[in-house]
């Protein structure tokens, strides 16, 4: 049954050094506040899992939290490269980064398999591509048609982390808008942290919403603005200007470190992060 706790407590109690941690949110509801807390607490040797490692993983990788990245597309959407990710892969800075990469379809099948407690997910793909040689993929033969299908391993991280719009006082979670693999990563993980915009008395049903019963979640943490620079449908928009400015901040190691110091390490929580941010260069709106 979900416990409602402060984010720093949830991260301290649920994430260990060396864990496989998946912060999910497909362009929407990306749990940035939780990523920042992992950085503040100096978590190390993490296997970071995420379909689209964007700014949040650029930060974690640049701050030395990651040992391995499992992913399918690593870029700054609509902007360009993730400079910290590239620096780690191309120049081992601040540390070497092991890669396991899939297609989106492969990652999605792996998450669905994880939620269903299956050891593998299937993809009609990979065959003939370079991915088939470079990644963790196997093959099964259909007993009915003889077709060879690609198998990807189920994704069952130690900790699944998502952001959502609402939880109620018992810890039932509701999210709406683009839902990504939010349900799958929580159901497939051994432990889970859900940060939310607000805790309400009663969830009011929203069209197209996804609900996670309290008994499927380990910790719920109230973090208004916790998806920034991503967005929370119905709460605030995507901070496109931030994504653009991240290109400059992250391109240079020193500038990156200075930014992380002032915005993350020197702030106590998501509220302070937003206070600092509102006075900074990062969002020249």
């Amino acid at each position: 049954m979900a416990e409602i706790v402060p984010l720093d407590q949830a991260v301290r109690e649920l994430v260990d050094d060396g864990d496989a941690v998946a912060l999910e949110g497909f362009t929407h509801l990306i749990p940035h506040a939780a990523g920042h807390e992992l950085i503040r607490q100096g978590k190390r040797r993490l296997t970071l899992v995420r379909m689209t490692p964007d700014v949040v993983y650029d930060q974690l990788i640049g701050m030395g939290c990651a040992q391995k990245l499992v992913f399918s597309w690593g870029g700054n959407p609509g902007v360009g490269s993730l400079h910290r990710l590239r620096d780690a892969v191309e120049h081992d800075w601040p540390a070497p980064l092991e890669l396991e990469e899939h297609s989106h379809a492969g990652m999605a099948a792996g998450y669905a398999a994880g939620a269903a407690n299956f050891p593998l997910g299937l993809v009609r793909g990979y065959e003939g591509t370079g991915l088939a040689e470079r990644t963790n993929v196997g093959w099964v033969v259909c007993p009915f048609t003889g077709e060879r299908l690609a198998a990807v391993p189920a994704i069952r991280p130690d900790v699944g982390v998502i952001h959502a719009q609402q939880a109620d006082a018992r810890g039932n979670v509701q999210l709406w808008g683009i839902s990504g693999v939010q349900k799958e990563v929580v159901l497939g993980a051994k432990r889970s942290i859900v940060t939310v915009e607000e805790i309400v008395d009663e969830l009011d049903p929203k069209p197209g919403s996804t609900k996670l019963p309290a008994w499927t979640v380990t910790a719920v943490c109230e973090c208004p603005g916790g998806a920034h620079p991503s967005y929370s449908h119905g709460y605030y928009d995507r901070d496109n200007a931030f994504y653009v400015s991240w290109d400059g901040i992250s391109r240079d190691r020193d500038r990156f470190l200075a930014w992380m110091q002032s915005h993350v390490l020197d702030t106590a929580d998501v509220a302070e992060y937003h206070r600092i941010l509102s006075g900074s260069e990062a969002t020249p709106v």
Binding site: T27, G74, A109, A112, G130, I178, D237
Partner: protein, 221 residues
Amino acid sequence: MTPVESYTADEMMSVAAARRLRDGAVCFVGIGLPSRAANLARATHAPDCVLIYESGAIGAKPRRLPLSIGDGELAETADTLVSVPEIFSYWLQGGRIDVGFLGAAQIDRFGNLNSTVIGEYEQPEVRLPGAGGAPEIASWCKETFVMVRQTPRAFVERLDFLTSLGRPHGRHGGVGVTYVVTDLGVLEPDAESGELTMTALYPDVTPEEAREATGWKLRLA
């Protein structure tokens, strides 16, 4: 009416790709040029194009061009939103998409694409974003349009990494790449050999320019 005096390469590529979309086509659209092209088609000759974004927005009708595939505008205007596992299983691999759009850092003469690394995989000169939806878009859309600027660095004799297949025919659901729209013109696969051949050049582009921009011995139809 003022004559159009100039246009950017992006604008020309968007127009060239948009014109090749038939009305009613179900399109799997990425951000950037593909989204621009598909929305241009929808605003002009193909109002019934169905736009599907890999974030799960089916039938999106954005009123302004989205900046990310997960833009709230897509969610709000979509006929329906589905989860990411569903979009890649029931919809993409389900074989429901007519036209997929792809970009890449490298393309070879058969429309195979590389969006993974430049250089060696283990010691890359440039680490690119990776596969994303490309392998299954290339294999499962009935046809694929590639949008990429034509330079010798991009149009290569040999890919550094094969991210997605140009001609998945038989093996999977689609025929593969049918058009490569560049900033110089349009290439199509030769009916017999499958080799990409320049079938259209924009005004003021010479065959010589196209050949020089291509890392293999380019044929023009």
